[in-house]
């Protein structure tokens, strides 16, 4: 009896995906224990977020992909409306207008777009599956650019980047011709000077300090210098758990959120890094396999984009901490402290599970 109940409860959960995510969560909690040694409330807070995120994952996994499809347009429309509302009357925190005050709580609508964007585009392409022409790709690009511009204007470069990536993956997987792809890439490069002129001072500083962190050792360069020292001084096997001097002497800023990888790297060294990379690789591999075997165009595109978004998080974060990418606010997926990102990520994992478990039901 209990066994059947348990089986029904876990029916939609994909064991490999879950095991990988769980391993990453565990690594995250272990690192957080070290990184947040002086703010213990963060550890219990993260544990609560994990429970919430898992509940979200389980719930989403129960849906059929067709049901998810029905959410596409409303979710996108809501996200867009909220973004416009933010631009008009959002709260300014840290110089950026990202938050919408609902009286009871403040929300960051750009977060919704991280899932709503691939959902919307996958739905859009699915609807026009039979007649995919240049026009459809063009419309899809517009659907992508509008919210991205609103997010970039807030300014929130990190989220804008993640949403752009998510949307781009759908368009790419939907089969955009290589010619246009290369053309767009070149056009993008050509417009870099223009983008530069649109950037806020602090964003420019971040890019300049990446090129030469020593130019501003007390200000923006400080993050990069200190986190690279943390990574490098970890060596092969690391300094050992709770023994990272960079983290514990408080040289590392944001060490439980965006820079948690520096703490991990310092304490567990190259071996730890390899383990982490491997876990991400397996998780992404599993996601791509689910995408490749998904039954409908919608499911394929969505699964592929969600998986690749995951990759973007991991790559951008580790690249930034190790000093090869500029500092943008992107957390290390499943490891960084922070409830919102965790929920978004597990929503994605729930979608993957839903697509995987329901692949036979729709194959008619």
């Amino acid at each position: 009896m209990i066994r059947t109940l348990w089986l029904r409860f876990t029916d939609k959960i994909d064991p490999p995906l879950f095991a990988l995510a769980f391993a990453l969560l565990l690594l995250g909690l272990i690192t957080l224990t070290s990184a947040a040694h002086d703010t213990p409330a963060r550890i219990s807070g993260q544990a609560v977020s994990i429970l919430v995120a898992l509940a979200v994952m389980w719930t989403v996994a129960q849906f059929q992909p067709q049901t998810l499809m029905r959410f596409a347009l409303p979710a996108y429309a809501l996200g867009l409306a909220l973004l416009i509302a933010v631009a008009l009357f959002g709260d300014v925190v840290n110089g950026a207008r990202r938050w919408l005050n609902l009286g009871v709580t403040r929300i960051q609508p750009s977060e919704i777009m991280k899932i709503a964007m691939p959902l919307m585009l996958a739905w859009y392409f699915h609807k026009h599956e039979a007649t995919l022409r240049l026009r459809e790709y063009f419309v899809a690009s517009l659907l992508l650019l509008l919210p991205v511009m609103l997010i970039a204007r807030q300014p929130d470069l990190g989220t804008a980047l993640l949403v752009t990536a998510a949307g781009f993956y759908v368009i790419f997987l939907a089969g955009l011709s290589w010619k246009i792809l290369v053309g767009a890439l070149l056009a993008g490069c050509a417009s870099l000077p223009f983008l530069w002129s649109l950037m806020h001072d602090y964003q420019r500083r971040r890019i300049l300090t990446l090129l030469d962190p020593t130019s501003d050792p007390l200000g923006a360069g400080y993050h990069i210098i200190q986190s690279v020292i943390a990574v490098g001084s970890g060596g092969l096997a690391g300094k050992g758990w709770l023994k990272g001097t960079q983290a514990h002497l408080e040289f590392l800023p944001e060490r439980s959120t965006d820079f948690i990888f520096a703490v991990f790297s310092e304490e567990f060294g190259l071996i730890g890094n390899c383990l982490l990379l491997l876990l991400y690789l397996l998780l992404i591999g599993r996601g791509l396999a689910i995408a490749a075997n998904a039954p409908t165009f919608f499911a394929r595109l969505l699964a592929g984009a969600v998986t690749l978004t995951f990759f973007t998080y991991a790559f951008v974060n580790m690249g930034m901490v190790s000093g090869i990418l500029p500092v943008v606010g992107v957390p290390l997926p499943l490891v960084s402290f922070g409830g919102t990102a965790l929920v978004t990520l597990f929503l994605g994992i729930g979608i993957l599970m839903s697509i995987h478990r329901h692949r036979k039901l729709v194959q008619t």
Binding site: D38, T39, P40, V92, V93, N94, G95, Y169, F172, L173, G175, D201, Y202, L218, G219, Q226, V228, I229, A230, V231, G232, S233, G234, G235, L236, T245, Q246, H248, L249, E250, F251, S265, E266, G269, L270, N273, C274, L277, Y280, L281, I284, G285, L288, A291, A292, F297, R300, G304, L308, F311, F315, M318, G319, S322, G323, I324
Partner: protein, 632 residues
């Protein structure tokens, strides 16, 4: 057909899987790049970074600069710093705040207000490293805590510089105050790219000059490189870059004059602005009631905050800067000048005043019930005849009034060097169109011009604007931007940066018209509505009384001061400059709900002028002079 469709699907799936494959390859490539980077950092460069991390026992400690002082024109200190010990808690390092505070209480005195303030601070200054639970510890308390320090991880004694306003309430609206940096301030600091310079700063200017001249007063943060042991405690100082102290502000304000002016108000609410016409330098800037800025420095306790904010007297509002009042009859000199300049009236031209002006079926009443009889321009000002200006307003039309009088800076910000200025309202057809939404409200009615003529209606100006306009008239139409700071002094180099009198505009006015208006205003103080207040003055002066209605009075009702509740009583106004021939000071006074201007506002002006021109000091509130209640 079926087969073709199936084939199509197959091909589509194949293409999709190809793209997935490409994406997978990209992921692999990107991760390999990361792996290479890790190998480079952690194997190849390992020795380099290991040494770096070991050397990284150097912590950079910011050193706060001393905040600049604020001094009046003769060097009296209005804001200074003193150093004192505070007992501070780092909220992030203490698990049970309540328990810690209870235990601390057994060693040093912690009052309920200290607790309340600390609680407020934890909410306001979220993310601050350490917050004071007690300030100004005695030497004994410091010693007592030092012995028990081991019991309180995350609690420490700090020597801090505090801001002090030695004159307490006096000129509190001018200096403003500093307070602890809150989340909104952090945003603003970040926006301005000043985060590095505010490392280690706990306070920032919140209002008044403290806020407006924050960038001058704050100074530049220095830092010390300190070698720390493995627990992060400082062992020795390696190098030190001294902070650059903030600059001093030396004001144009004369604090003794300010004191005389504030005293003259007694318990009345109101505002006074006195300006030096030849420079725009502010000599006195009063907003009553004031407040004690010292309350805000350590974080104000909630009870005092509640009191200041809910008081009906609204002591936190800077009335001189942000209060707007109808000018009442103090508007008349400008109306008269407009009539002369635009050729609508000649000085000797007379009207007959029966005690009202009939417009359509509306009767605009003169404040003297029987009227003034035959009135020329001189008499219209000296006796403050309303009917004359009802007619004049009607003849000039609202847009002519707005255009001419706007030149004196009415209805627009003066650009004074302190933030929070109100614009006021200079009514015109265009203003009304913009102000209201419904078309029927947007239309300007000719009847509305008539009340504007005597300074009522939509008219609303700040005392600062009224003083500026008076100074412009005194200075024959040449206007300077009003300013509170005379010069900024670098205390290291002694270098002084003058806040130069900036020419606002020069109004072209005919000398004979100016001459006439000035003569009439002198008449106000010798034989008119201001004569009682200025009886036996030992200098020449020009003035104009005014009474501004707070509530509208029905057409046939007589205004009865005693019957109207105190807060609905009229505001008393007075504008003046002196001496007549070479004006040294121009001022505007508003005494809220004090009734007739001649009675309540003119005596305040008299005390201020007596002190400024003769050095005469009364040291008591200005006495109300009995006035002919018919004339305001």
């Amino acid at each position: 057909m079926r087969l073709a469709e199936f084939k199509d699907h197959q091909r589509e799936l194949y293409y999709f899987q190809l793209r997935i494959g490409i994406a997978g390859a990209f992921v692999l490539a990107a991760f390999s790049l990361l792996l290479l980077r890790f190998v480079y950092l952690q194997i190849v460069q390992y020795d380099y970074y290991r040494t770096k991390a070991e050397d990284n026992r150097i912590s950079v400690v910011p050193i706060m600069p001393n905040r600049g002082l604020i001094l009046d024109r003769s060097g009296t200190v209005l804001a200074r710093n003193y150093s004192a010990y505070t007992l501070e808690i780092s909220p992030g390092k203490v698990t049970d705040l309540e328990k810690t505070i209870n235990e601390l209480e057994t060693i040093v005195e912690i009052r309920a207000s200290d607790r309340a303030r600390f609680k407020r601070l934890t909410i306001e200054a979220k993310g601050a490293e350490s917050l004071p639970i007690r300030t100004r510890l005695t030497d004994e308390e410091v010693a007592k805590f030092a012995v028990n320090r081991y019991r309180f991880p995350g609690v420490d004694i700090q020597a801090r510089l505090f801001r002090q306003y030695p004159l307490n309430e006096l000129a509190s609206h001018v200096t403003g105050y500093i307070g602890r940096i809150n989340e909104r301030d952090v945003d603003r600091i970040e926006e301005a790219g000043l985060t590095a310079n505010y490392k280690g700063s706990d306070h920032i200017g919140k209002t008044g000059l403290e806020q407006s001249y924050e960038s001058e007063l704050h100074g530049f943060t220095g830092y010390e490189q300190v070698e720390v042991d493995s627990a992060g405690r400082g062992v020795r100082t390696l190098s030190r870059t001294s902070p650059t102290p903030g600059n001093n502000l030396v004001l144009t304000l004369d604090i003794r004059l300010q004191q005389v002016a504030e005293q003259a108000f007694g318990d009345n609410r109101g505002a006074l602005v006195a300006v030096e016409p030849a420079t725009g330098g502010i000599l006195a800037f009063v907003s009553k009631p004031g407040f004690d800025p010292n309350l805000f420095v350590d974080g104000i306790d909630p009870a005092s905050w509640e009191l200041l904010n809910t008081s009906l007297d609204r002591p936190m509002v800077n009335r001189a800067l942000a209060g707007t009042y109808p000018p009442g009859s103090t508007f008349k000199p400008y109306m008269a000048l407009a009539a002369l300049e635009l050729g609508k009236r000649a000085p000797q031209q007379t009207i007959y005043d029966p005690g009202f002006f009939q417009f359509g079926n509306h009767r605009f009443r003169d404040s003297r019930p029987g009227g003034h009889g035959t009135v020329d321009m001189y008499k219209s000002l000296v006796a403050s005849c309303d009917t004359y200006y009802y007619m004049l307003g009607n003849d000039l039309g609202i847009d002519n009034i707005a255009r001419f009088i706007g030149q004196f800076g009415f209805g627009e910000k003066t650009g004074i060097d302190v933030e929070g200025e109100a614009s006021g309202v200079l009514p015109s057809q265009e203003w009304k169109r913009k102000r209201f939404k419904k078309p029927e409200q947007q239309k300007w009615y000719a009847g509305e011009t008539i009340s504007v003529g005597i300074g009522q209606g939509y008219n609303a100006y700040t005392p600062l604007q009224m003083a500026q306009a008076m100074a412009a008239l005194a200075n024959n139409g040449v206007m300077y931007r009003p300013h509170l700071v005379n010069y900024i002094e670098n205390i290291r180099s002694g270098e002084r940066t003058m806040v130069e009198p900036k020419l606002g505009r020069a109004i072209t006015l005919k000398p004979e018209n100016l001459e006439f208006i000035k003569r009439a205003l002198a008449g106000v103080n010798t034989e008119g509505t201001g004569a009682r207040a200025f009886a036996k003055a030992e200098y020449t002066s020009a003035g104009k009384t005014g009474t501004a209605q707070v509530i509208a009075i029905k057409q046939n009702e007589k205004y009865d001061e005693k019957r109207v509740t105190e807060r609905h009583r009229d505001h008393a106004l007075f504008i003046a400059f002196a001496p007549l021939e070479s004006p040294k000071i121009a001022l505007a006074v508003v005494v809220e709900n004090a009734g007739f201007g001649a009675r309540a506002a003119a005596p305040v002006a008299r005390q201020v002028l007596d002190y400024y021109l003769l050095g005469k000091r009364v040291n008591q509130p200005a006495a109300v002079v009995p006035g002919d209640e018919g004339d305001d």
